[in-house]
């Protein structure tokens, strides 16, 4: 260490550049860049995020690859059914599950407190996380579509509807992920709580098997996962446009998550 220290900024009003929209954008780009760097450096998160959905499609392809269009899969072939639902699962995994776990762990370790001690505004931190989640989801979906193509599932044609659904879904599930991280106080419990909510929800929403119970479908239609599955399945497989009712339900859940997150989120590992 040396003792040659430059003078700190003088007391009084600092004369820095005003915070404009361009500096906000630069801040966001800075934040996204370092989120990416931390993510790709962590072999565990990268592998789980990308390998798991691909392996899942491969297994489903091996199990059901030979099954053509059938009423059991809603008039689709088995793989036409599974490619969009597994794509939805990968978005859920990275936006909701991994985000909730990562945030709870970062809070417990004191990483969030360190962030909070800097002038980085909260919106920039969360926008950086959202941008990261969207990026990861896009890569995941591209991988899944390519693997699906190997099993004869044609490339989807409504990319705009897919992107809209993807961004809305990522934002909603990120908000729900932050909300869950906000209500969990202990990082060890975070994976269990996140999975406890997600697994039954995915099951009744037809992620693993098509559901033919009117009651279950009625209930899950108002919960966040089925609308997302359906909103993706439409433009993926049936070449329909965006499904506005599904998107509205998804957005409503996102709004609920955002409200809980804004009211309950804590940066400090210790409660007040």
């Amino acid at each position: 260490m040396t003792t040659a220290v430059a003078a700190p900024r003088r007391a009084g009003r600092p004369a820095g550049p005003p915070a404009g929209s361009r500096s906000n954008l630069r801040l966001l780009a800075h934040q996204v860049r370092y989120e990416q760097l931390s993510f790709w450096r962590n072999p565990q998160s990268a592998v789980f995020t990308f390998i798991f959905p691909v392996v899942f499609v491969v297994i489903m392809g091996a199990l059901f690859g030979g099954i053509g269009k059938s009423s059991y899969f809603g008039g689709l072939s088995a793989l036409q059914y599974y490619v969009p639902t597994i794509a939805a699962l990968s978005v859920l995994g990275s936006c909701y599950g991994q985000l909730a776990v990562a945030l709870a762990a970062r809070r417990q370790a004191g990483i969030l407190k360190r962030v909070r001690a800097t002038p980085l505004p909260a919106w920039a931190y969360f926008a950086g996380l959202l941008a990261h989640c969207v990026l990861v989801s896009v890569i995941d979906i591209a991988l899944i579509v390519v693997v699906g193509r190997l099993y004869g599932v044609p490339f989807p044609s409504h990319w705009l509807a897919i992107m809209l659904t993807l961004v809305l879904g990522a934002a909603s599930f990120c908000a729900l992920g932050v909300a869950v991280a906000s209500v969990i106080s202990n990082a060890e419990a975070a994976p269990a709580v996140a999975q406890l909510v997600l697994f039954p929800l995915m099951f009744i929403s037809g992620t693993y098997l098509p559901i033919h119970s009117a009651l279950l479908n009625g209930v899950s239609g108002w919960l966040p996962v089925r609308p997302f599955n359906e909103a993706l399945t439409g433009p993926f497989a049936q070449h329909a446009g965006a499904d506005w009712r599904d998107l509205a339900v998804l957005a409503a859940w996102g709004a609920v998550g955002a409200v809980v997150a804004v009211r309950r989120f804590r940066w400090d590992p210790r409660p007040e």
């Binding site: 260490m1 003088r10 370092y34 360190r114 210790r270």
Partner: protein
């Protein structure tokens, strides 16, 4: 000139636990002030209120002219304060340089990444992943992150815990250098040597109140009172023969013998010592093991924070 930090009547409870009951002190610009006190005395809560991590129940607080409890001033305050805390951490997979550069991007006018890396003693470790750093190296990275925004006010929470003696000396040199360059520093420590070496003033907390405040050399009146003169009673003498207790009961308020050692506690050490040595020389006695000592900062600390010790307002020197 106003103070960098002004606190008065600060109060904070967590349910039934009154963490901070009445805390008031000031930190002038360019000053190093140390908050001392046992665990649970309210140091961390006080710091966290000033840092904006916690709300206060009552009292006033002003940091660099801003109210830390005011949400609208939070970002500006964070631009101009740096934190080195016990319970903060950084992403394990980034390198040292990336971690510092990332934080630099959050500030309007940061210091140079290379400069701060050097200041914190991390030169040569720039490309190491954070997770591979030792405990002491991580603390130095914390220090770098506290400095990167070029703060006017720096909070240091037990800054040298876990440092080896050489690293601790280096850190002290750095802190003095920062102060010399005009930075204001508020630190907490359990290390009395550290408080003595660094602080212009110390504020001693116990049970959520300030029990003493002042220069480390004068805390609790230790510069003025109770100098201890100890020596072995010469053979054939009793405590009653000594000139200090015989001549002035006022200045020598205690003399007790144990293993032949006697201790004279005096508020006028120059006179007492002169009388003692004059007496001994004229009688041909030797005052074996003669020592003159003031109570150390640690003695004063232990006495003032003794469990059950009532706060002594007469000792408070603001």
């Amino acid at each position: 000139m106003p103070n960098a930090v002004e606190v008065s009547g600060l109060r904070k409870s967590y349910g039934q636990v009154h963490a901070v009951r009445d805390v008031g002190f000031t930190v002038g610009y360019g000053e190093i002030v140390a908050l001392l006190g046992p665990n649970g005395a309210g140091k961390t809560t006080t710091l966290e209120i000033l840092e904006g991590f916690r709300t206060r129940d009552d009292g006033t607080a002003e940091v660099l002219g801003y109210d830390p409890g005011e949400r609208s001033s939070a970002r500006e305050l964070r631009e101009r304060t740096g934190l080195v805390l016990q319970d903060v951490a950084v992403e394990p997979y980034l390198t040292v340089r990336e971690t510092i550069a990332r934080a630099a991007g959050y500030y309007r006018a940061p210091r140079g990444v290379t400069e701060v890396t050097g200041l914190a003693g991390l030169t040569g470790l720039e490309r190491r992943k954070v997770r591979s750093l030792s405990g002491g190296q991580k603390r130095r990275l914390d220090l770098a992150l506290g400095l990167i925004g070029n703060p006017a006010l720096l909070y240091l929470d037990e800054p040298t815990t876990g440092f080896d003696p050489a690293a601790r000396r280096d850190a002290w040199q750095l802190v003095r250098g920062l102060r010399a360059a005009g930075m204001t520093i508020l630190l907490t420590t359990h290390d009395m040597d550290e408080a003595q070496a660094l602080a212009d003033r110390v504020v001693l907390l116990s049970g959520g109140v300030v029990v003493a405040a002042g220069e480390p050399a004068a805390l609790g009146g230790r510069d003025a009172e109770r100098t201890r003169i100890s020596f072995r009673l010469p053979a054939g003498c009793t405590a009653a023969d000594l000139p200090v207790s015989a001549h002035s009961a006022n200045s020598a308020n205690s003399a007790n013998s144990a293993n032949g050692m006697v201790v004279v506690e005096t508020g006028t050490p120059t006179q007492a010592l002169h009388r003692l040595t004059d007496w001994a020389i004229r009688r041909g006695h030797v005052l074996a093991g003669l020592t003159v000592e003031r109570p150390s900062l640690e003695d004063v600390y232990l006495e003032l924070t003794r469990a059950g010790a009532p706060p002594a307002p007469e000792r408070i020197m603001r």
